[in-house]
């Protein structure tokens, strides 16, 4: 019995290593904070471990796990609505005041960071289901069918969510719009 549990632990460690980045990316996309993303990822794995018995192999393990991750990330915000504002503040703090900077070479790298922060900030301001749809589509490159499957909604809903999300994002990002 001990042997089995030890074996179980080893197998779980393997799964952990293999799927960690996948879960972390989603968690980071949804929270915008490294620490929160780490915590959330660990919670996801704990939940996955506890529910391992429910995985009966009708689908690939990856699919099952991904779905669980999406669910967990979507639930996460309900408890932590407040921390989104904190995350936004964090991101803003990470952007030094633009006015004080001279036109210098180093600025380009800074600008890139700022642009990333601004974009992420806009993304974080979206409702979780819109945010998740955008992350799965634009950052993870999934098809509408795959997103529908993972978010447990219809393909039509995926389209509507993405449309609404991008309309809102365009407004929030309007000041980034250049001519290049």
């Amino acid at each position: 019995m001990d042997l089995v549990l030890a074996g179980q632990g080893e197998v779980f460690a393997q799964l952990y290593e293999r799927y960690y980045l996948r879960a972390y990316r989603l968690a980071y996309g949804m929270t915008g904070q490294r620490e929160a993303a780490e915590d959330l990822t660990q919670e996801i794995f704990l939940r996955a471990y506890q529910k391992l018995g429910q995985f009966k192999g009708q689908s690939r393990f990856a699919t099952w796990f991904y779905r669980l991750t999406v669910n967990r990330c979507l639930q996460h915000r309900q408890r932590a609505q407040k921390s989104i504002e904190e995350a936004v503040e964090d991101l803003e703090r990470a952007m030094p005041s633009q006015r004080d900077e001279l036109v210098r070479e180093a600025e380009t790298a800074l600008f890139q960071q700022q642009a990333q922060a601004l974009i992420h900030k806009a993304l974080l301001s979206l409702k979780p289901d819109l945010r998740m749809a955008v992350i799965l589509r634009s950052l993870e490159g999934l098809s509408y069918e795959e997103i529908a499957e993972r978010m447990n909604c219809s393909v039509g809903t995926v389209g509507t969510r993405l449309h609404r999300a991008h309309k809102l994002l365009a407004q929030k990002l309007a000041n980034l719009r250049g001519t290049y």
């Binding site: 074996g7 990316r25 009966k56 955008v134 999934l142």
Partner: protein, 737 residues
């Protein structure tokens, strides 16, 4: 008043239907029928256009966001403890049995997996071109190995390159799934389950195979594109040489199931310039030429895959050109005896049949030799035997070594020793580069070289008379004032004096006296420049030299044979935003003044221009107020003798962002390499643009084309249409006139 309101409401109601489709359109998932409808609506509706621009902007911005791709895995003790001390919840099964069985099975699996991963195997090398392609679900960061039985997958944003043993290469486009079936020296075999790939194979016939759900493509020494859609249907497009398409169960044997005796019906030989479709369960259809008429192609599709009746055949015969003889020939065994007669007669008007061959006996084995001779004649006429029926040869395109770093908005400068310096640029929209690399035409390889003094994209690079290379300005959203000099003797960069004002979107022109004229551009998004300055190679500094007649950015500046510089188009700032210019002016280096000259027939910016051997200047493509919608296919020629621009032939593709991708070839023609997946050649003698056969995979913006001393052109970089967020890839090509 009331009426206006009513009209507004009606039009708003009409729009609502289209607005629902806009996002799907922007995201590339709208079906063809609705897309056509929407594309007809968009030019008429400013509101929908504005919204589609907004959506597309947001989509592009979001794709710039990078989720971490490499984080340290933290597996905290508390979680390990949890796993160690608590069993997972079970659902119905008794824990010990379940756990024992699964635990042992998983342990075995892990063992087997470890063995499997470590066993020595042969495979093909895979290089990441963009995004994160995967092999067996594992991400490829730079290179990977595809083993026999292994799967290579690309998602919506990734591309990869497979080296096919030592006989060629295959480029895998986004959203594709490929399996390596065999890597033997006598049987190179891939399976393309979905997606798109470009193969370039240099080997004897029948060594390279691609299996799809509907057909097997067999290489006869060639380059081609193969595409498989969700239903498993394939589309083959041959760009060079020949490819044979066989019905699936006819494949040459090794891996596909039953082998039946191949018949002429099941193997279709497709020549360069031609395409062929195949459907699952139905196999390949009839090959046709890409330039066949739309009606002809539709009728052929009907005949091949649906119930093509008499009218379909009539349409085919009506629409057939001499070049379509090959298609007609392939149809002979496919139609019933009643239809064979008119088909035969039509074909005979293009290519006379051998004596004694009639519609009634053409398929009889006794006539096989004669018919074979006829087929050769037909192929000769269709594929390239009759110069009068074909566009003049437009040269060839082939891949060369890969860049070490993906770049767009970089510079590529021919050095005096024949090598090419590739400097700076951006990997993605905001990932600026300070690296450089050198391309050696002798080896066809890129090697990393010295670092620039700073990161820059959209700078200018000018080879000075002493062979050193001057890089000026550029930057990112905000411009740089700095400049630097590359010395081929030391292989390093060093800073020189600064510009008097930071510039991006400017142009640099080497003057006959060795100085460099820097015109226009902008220091930031709000301000555009009319000011020009001169770089003096002796003092290594810049001095202002007066102002142009207008602010200009993304314009062109071309040195004329009479020593003047022709400055054309570009954009300027106006109260309503940025407007493109039709005006042009001349810089006189002797008097250091700018004087107006004739105007373009249409305003252009982000266009290209090049000096012809006879002293005239071709100005081509570019765009108007709306960056993508107003792209122009037109071109005009400036004659210094009259000071006027005159329109010439149109390009086949409307292009933008081609400032460094248009070159004069040693044969006096012009190569246009950027802004489209296919290259074009302009012949000043006829005023005609012709497409070059083959493709560079996708439209590339801010790519470079550099004429090499041997007359070939090195084409590389640019951000790739279809990849989000202005992303470049590693591929590079050589064009030979």
């Amino acid at each position: 008043m009331r009426l206006t309101k009513l009209t507004e409401r009606v039009s708003a109601w009409r729009c609502r239907r289209y607005q629902k489709l806009l996002w799907l359109y922007i995201d590339g998932v709208l079906d063809a029928q609705q897309r056509i409808e929407l594309e007809a609506h968009l030019p008429q509706c400013a509101r929908c256009r504005a919204e589609s621009e907004e959506l597309s902007f947001a989509r592009q911005q979001i794709s710039l966001l990078q989720l971490p791709s490499d984080v340290p895995i933290k597996y905290p003790r508390w979680l390990q403890e949890q796993v160690k001390n608590h069993a997972p919840e079970t659902s119905g099964w008794a824990w010990p049995h379940w756990a024992a069985a699964v635990g042992v099975a998983l342990l075995l699996l892990v063992g087997a997996l470890t063995w499997y991963l470590r066993r020595p195997t042969v495979g093909w090398e895979v290089t990441r071109l963009a995004g994160t392609p995967t092999i067996q679900s594992a991400a490829i960061t730079k290179n990977g190995k595809l083993e026999v039985g292994g799967w290579l997958e690309t998602n919506r944003v990734s591309r990869a390159l497979i080296r096919v043993g030592n006989i060629g290469q295959v480029e895998i486009e986004p959203d594709s799934r490929v399996q390596l079936l065999s890597a033997r020296a006598d049987d190179h075999r891939l399976s393309l389950v979905k997606g798109r790939m470009h193969a370039s194979i240099f080997a004897p016939p029948r060594l390279f195979f691609i299996e799809t759900p509907s057909a097997v493509a067999i290489d006869y020494g060639c380059a081609y594109t193969l595409e498989v859609d969700e239903s498993g249907a394939s589309l083959l497009q041959v760009t060079a040489g020949w490819v044979s398409l066989q019905a699936v169960n006819q494949s040459a044997g090794q891996s596909a199931g039953q082998v039946t005796k191949p018949t002429a019906e099941h193997e279709v030989l497709v020549p360069a310039g031609a395409m062929c479709r195949a459907l699952p369960g139905k196999g390949p259809g009839t090959p046709f030429f890409q330039d066949a008429s739309e009606k002809f192609r539709q009728a052929l599709d009907q005949l091949d895959f649906k119930d093509g009746g008499k009218m379909t055949l009539v349409a085919i015969l009506d629409e057939a050109r001499k070049r379509d003889s090959l298609t007609l020939f392939h149809l002979l065994p496919r139609v019933t005896a009643v239809f064979r007669e008119p088909l035969f007669e039509r074909l005979a008007t293009f290519v006379p049949p051998p004596a004694g061959v009639t519609p009634a006996n053409v398929l009889q084995p006794a006539n096989a030799d004669k018919v074979e001779a006829w087929r050769e004649k037909v192929e000769f006429v269709s594929v390239g035997g009759n110069p009068a029926d074909l566009p003049k040869t437009t040269g060839t395109l082939r891949p060369t070594g890969l860049l070490n770093v993906a770049r767009h908005s970089h510079s590529a400068t021919l050095l005096t020793d024949g090598r090419v310096l590739i400097a700076g640029g951006a990997e993605h929209d905001d990932t600026l580069l300070d690296s450089s690399e050198i391309y050696d035409p002798a080896t066809g390889q890129f090697t990393m070289a010295a670092s620039l003094t700073t990161k820059r994209r959209s700078h200018t690079a000018t080879r000075l008379r002493d062979g050193r290379v001057l890089l000026v300005g550029g930057g990112n959203r905000r411009a740089l004032a700095s400049a630097e000099l590359y010395d081929p003797a030391t292989g390093s960069f060093r800073a020189v004096g600064n510009l008097s004002v930071p510039r991006i979107g400017h142009r640099a022109t080497l003057l006959p006296d060795g100085q460099v004229l820097i015109t226009g551009g902008y220091p930031d998004e709000r301000n555009k420049l009319a000011r020009a300055e001169l770089y003096d190679p002796v003092t290594e500094s810049f001095t202002l030299v007066g102002s142009m007649q207008s602010q200009r950015f993304d314009h062109t500046a071309t040195l004329l044979n009479n020593g003047l510089v022709l400055i054309v188009g570009g954009g300027k700032r106006s109260p309503t935003g940025e407007v493109p210019l039709a005006s042009a002016e001349l810089y006189d280096p002797a008097k250091k003044i700018f004087i107006p000259t004739g105007s373009l027939s249409t305003p252009r910016y982000k266009h290209g221009s090049v000096l012809l051997p006879d002293g005239r200047v071709v100005v081509l493509s570019g765009t108007g107020v709306r960056l993508w919608e107003d792209r122009r296919a037109s071109a005009e020629i400036y004659d210094p003798a009259t000071g006027q621009f005159i329109l010439t032939g149109n390009l086949n593709t409307a292009r933008i962002k081609i400032r460094d991708a248009v070159v004069l070839l040693s044969n006096g023609r012009i190569l246009v390499a950027g802004g489209g997946a296919r290259l074009e050649i302009f012949d000043p003698a006829t005023g005609i643009f012709s497409a070059v056969s083959g493709s560079i995979g996708a439209a590339r913006h801010y790519a470079t084309a550099t004429l090499l001393p041997n007359g070939e052109v090195l084409i590389l970089g640019g951000y790739v249409t279809g990849l989000p967020g202005l992303t470049a890839d590693l591929s590079a090509w050589l064009y030979r006139p």
